[in-house]
């Protein structure tokens, strides 16, 4: 069917220990579904809310005052690139969700600019997810989601919402921005859950 183009290798390399269908890249491609929001740190908030309204909110200085962790992880984008050994600093969602009942099943991450993505509560607890504000020792750049983004590296990277502003607690799972337009509700790269039905 497709003709192979002589001498073309692309930016990515296949490697055996990557999730299926992924290609290794050394770049950090910038993906965005909309304009990059410019959020002043004075106005920045991270909120955890349920149906009754906001439960808890942190300002930028309050977030920085929380214990932070250094995270070294591979990341996998559904557009087929993977990147090894990225270094981040951020606050564990275990810290930010410590006051939330364990019976809440799901969260919807909301971003400045309107982006949303849904996650099971179990996948953002137990040291699996962070609100990250540093990348490779530098403040997280706006094009990569700064001032702060979600980091949920065991799922495809669209789940790691850029410009995150909060989590809404949900009893049942609801689709976010990409999940409502064909992308998988869960998004496990190792099971290649890219699209509905995968």
């Amino acid at each position: 069917m497709a003709v192979v183009t002589r001498g073309f290798t692309g930016r990515g390399r296949r490697e055996v220990d990557l999730p299926p269908g992924q290609y290794l890249t050394d770049d950090f491609p910038v993906l965005s579904a909309g304009p990059t929001p410019r959020i002043s740190l004075d106005e920045w908030r991270f909120e955890v809310a349920d149906g009754d309204g906001t439960r808890q909110a942190w300002s930028w200085p309050e977030l920085l005052a929380l214990p932070s962790e250094e995270i070294t992880t591979d990341i996998h984008c559904v557009t087929k690139w993977s990147k090894r050994g990225t270094h981040w600093r951020g606050v564990s969602l275990d810290t930010l969700l410590s006051g939330v009942d364990s019976d809440v099943g799901y969260v919807m991450a909301h971003s400045y600019g309107g982006y949303t993505t849904n996650l099971p509560m179990a996948d953002v607890r137990d040291g699996k997810a962070w609100v990250a504000y540093e990348y490779e020792g530098e403040p997280l750049a706006p094009e990569h989601g700064g001032p702060a983004r979600l980091l949920v590296p065991h799922l495809y990277f669209w789940k790691s919402a850029k410009w995150v502003r909060g989590l809404r607690l949900m009893a049942t799972d609801e689709p976010g921005f990409w999940e409502s337009a064909g992308y998988h509700m869960y998004g496990d790269p190792w099971r290649e859950q890219r699209y509905w039905g995968d």
Binding site: V4, T9, R11
Partner: protein
């Protein structure tokens, strides 16, 4: 059954394109002449999607404007089309097209597509073309189509480039400015001019646009193509000069590396 008059109304398929010739157009850009069997023809200003496939199945896709005339260009069969490719440092597709592709190589193209940023010789109004950098490609297709179709519609091209090294189609534009009756070409150098150039380097502004373009009272069709910021600026200048926003068609380029 009624026969429809539109040859493009069929499923859009990927076709195999074979590189038939390569022409270096500047230090940063080259023309690839592509042989595409069963090419359905195109309208000046349309583009194609290009897809490269690696041996391991990895694919990368980009859009490129067609630079060739809507009809067959002299010396080539009807099934050849031309795309202009600018090398984007650290890009993925353009380095292959610019540095590796040679005659006989194959990849896939899909098109032609796009019915918005197009010019057809049947249009009677004068035309203003404003290009920034490699944004010259679809406008070149219009200039070449005008000549091949024998159109007498007056064209004015204002073409902004950084310096003489990044001027694309320089020789052909100079030749056409001399030979294509009714075509005026103004080159604007933003950083560095050739020796003895009459205008110091500088950005395209309202004065130059008024001088080298058409007055709004002539109601020209305006086509502006280039990087997003450039197109934004020029479109704003044209509207400020009284041009009907509906007569200004734009095509912004992302960095299609």
């Amino acid at each position: 059954m009624t026969e429809l008059a539109t040859p493009t109304r069929r499923p859009l398929a990927w076709r195999v394109a074979t590189v038939a010739a390569v022409r270096e157009e500047s230090v940063v850009a080259r023309t690839l002449v592509l042989d595409v069997p069963d090419w359905p023809g195109h309208i000046a200003g349309q583009h194609v999607d290009v897809r490269l496939t690696a041996p391991d199945g990895y694919t990368a896709q980009r859009s490129y404007s067609l630079a060739s005339a809507a009809r067959a260009s002299a010396g080539y069969a009807v099934s050849t089309v031309e795309i202009l490719v600018q090398r984007i440092p650290r890009g993925e597709v353009s380095p292959w097209l610019c540095d590796i592709a040679m005659v006989g190589d194959q990849f896939e193209i899909r098109g032609p597509v796009g019915g918005y940023f197009v010019w057809e010789p049947s249009r009677p109004e004068p035309v203003l073309l404003v290009a920034g950098g490699s944004g010259i490609a679809p406008l070149m297709a219009m200039i070449r189509t005008r000549k091949e179709a024998g159109s007498r519609v007056p064209f004015r091209l204002i073409y902004s480039v950084r310096d003489p090294d990044t001027l694309i189609f320089g020789e052909e534009l100079a030749r056409r400015a001399r030979d294509d009756h009714g075509l005026d070409v103004t080159i604007v150098y933003t950083r560095q001019t050739p020796p003895g150039w009459r205008r110091p380097p500088g950005r395209l502004d309202a004065v130059l646009l008024a001088e080298a373009g058409w007055p709004a009272t002539l109601a020209p069709a305006c086509y502006v193509c280039g990087p997003t910021g450039f197109v934004e600026t020029v479109a704003d200048l044209l509207v400020a000069a009284g041009h009907d926003p509906a007569a200004i068609r734009t095509e912004r380029f992302g960095p299609t590396g």
